[in-house]
Symmetry: C2
Subunit: 406 residues, 2 copies
Amino acid sequence: AKKACLKVWNFLKKAWELGADEPRKVVHCLKVGIALTIVSLFYYMRPLYEGVGGNAMWAIMTVVVIFEYTVGATVSKCLNRATGTFLAGFLAVGVHWIANQSGENFEPIIVGVSVFLLASAATFSRFIPVIKARFDYGAMIFILTFSLVSISGYRVEKLFNMAHQRLSTIIIGTSICILISVLVCPIWAGEELYHLIIRNMNKLENSLDCCVAQYFNNTDINEETEKKLEGYKCVLNSEATEESMAGFARWEPAHGRFSFQHPWNQYLKIGASMRNCAYCIEALNSCVISENQAPEFIKKRLSDLCFRVNTNSSSVIRELAMKIKTMRKSTKLDVLVEEMNIAVEELRNDLKSLPGLLISPPKSPENDKGEPILTTSSTTTVPLVEVIPLGTFASLLIEIAARVEA
Amino acid sequence: AKKACLKVWNFLKKAWELGADEPRKVVHCLKVGIALTIVSLFYYMRPLYEGVGGNAMWAIMTVVVIFEYTVGATVSKCLNRATGTFLAGFLAVGVHWIANQSGENFEPIIVGVSVFLLASAATFSRFIPVIKARFDYGAMIFILTFSLVSISGYRVEKLFNMAHQRLSTIIIGTSICILISVLVCPIWAGEELYHLIIRNMNKLENSLDCCVAQYFNNTDINEETEKKLEGYKCVLNSEATEESMAGFARWEPAHGRFSFQHPWNQYLKIGASMRNCAYCIEALNSCVISENQAPEFIKKRLSDLCFRVNTNSSSVIRELAMKIKTMRKSTKLDVLVEEMNIAVEELRNDLKSLPGLLISPPKSPENDKGEPILTTSSTTTVPLVEVIPLGTFASLLIEIAARVEA
């Protein structure tokens, strides 16, 4: 029993930390609570409507299902739901009319066949990538509404009346959702994406700095540097988030510094470039933790230039992050890129002179276990050669970013 | 008009290709159609039940919302829905009873506050990773049912009767879903995961082969090799799929060669190792497309050993794939790993003798644009040094895989 208590306590503590870390999530929860309470009491207080079956239900269901974390997601679900319901209702009434005309024997057959065909087709459409990305929810609602209307048409004679009622309740639910999500502490998918990209850039920069410092200084890895070092993994894993955010951001109205048709796709391109950089850092990182290390004298010789390349690329990334943050053209950027390229060039030249150095190593490189380790040339050059594509990627990044707010 | 026609035609063609590529998706669509038709006609034919509001709706809704592509996903949604509905119904009846006892004035307040609190709490719980992964849908259903029952309690006096009816319709819907998804051409999440892992292993092997061959032969890249070369990108992107599959596979009953508690987590570990290898191949690949190439004579000297390392690691990966496929212990595996390690060792030794070679390059390496290119030592060694961690990763992979079906 004590163990179970401890488990529950730990769980609650974690939940509390989550809430304290991201207060906006708590705000979102309160928003959902408010929206639901309003809808519930709205129907609770009005004795005009008959019991549960009819209408109140649809409004509540709409609120529960549609209310999402960001404004964009909520709007996109609202539109999906409205379109799906409308289309399906329209079709179902049509099928119902045909079935009615063709006599009592054929009626169930026509209804059955139409449900079968349309449900299969709509389910299939959900596998098509374009539709899956934008209209997945709409297709589901389409199937649901179509089946409901086509079988209920038989019993409820006032089909249009029902459709009218259902639509009105959905409109009530939808508008409450949209109003609350826009008016009460709105969380914009676009803004989230923007902050995510900037945060990832900073992480990338920190990772790169740590990685190079680690390689040349061989300091002990404490928890903080470890955390910074691992920052690039966030960049690797954020592809799905970025894509869904950009998808939702498209539905959002103008807000803050973002216009309605802000070029969200550019953010995805920046994200992709950052992932390319992160792959490089991953490779660099594997050099840092590798057992085969170059001897100190080679490292020392190259460390200055490596640090320069590193500092330059970092400041390019930082400047890019600033540029995206302020959405202004940066005059310093070109200079920084130029400097970075010069540093890379120097490093290349220095590498050229290395083979000459290597014929007279002070001692044959063998580690204490007697295992042969790699010759200096190969081990030292790895991180350097890695730094170079990093420079290349960084300049790629620049080119793309230059297009964003041109 | 012609343009629009062409667009529609292209869309249909793409959809047709998708269906032809993966006939099981089409089968899934037909299964959904069948399930919905059965439920629809079931209620259409029975005049015992009153109109739409009451019950038929819930069965249809259950089928539409719950029927998923794999058996595991369907079962997990069924359990979620049942648990969520039951818990929420139970709580709502309790709250309703308390509200009833406390007089007419307090009733709406108690209902409102309880809806607000529980909806907020349940929404918050959906942000907690553990719950999000497994019980996201259950939490949503909990909110929905609780709100519905607590406001409907006011009108429908026969609350228990309603609960009974709703539960029975949900059970009908759920059982139809599970029966059809298990009996008609079942698609098991576990089996999908298993095939995905094996397919990815083969892609990884092909990518590696192509990459090394490309580097040393410099043949033109035609479409087929291009496709093989890019295979590792699939491995990089399949993390999310693997995780959701493994999550669903846990709910599946024993089927085929898989028992109920098959160690699905091991597949995730293998997937993670494969992603590590894919990062290496990404780095290798950037060497292949790089402008800085080592001179031919160095490449030739090393190509034999590189190919040996490559062939050995490829056959280790192939053997591993076989091992996972047949789920047997492989006797050959240890021998292959041994061979691979020997080849890696030889390559290392050969690299050691390189610096001596480099002092007398036949001509100063400058490409035709006059730009200085990297010295041979750095450029040649890159792919080799990259091959070595690849070997390391491959042996890591082995260790993990060895644990799977031990």
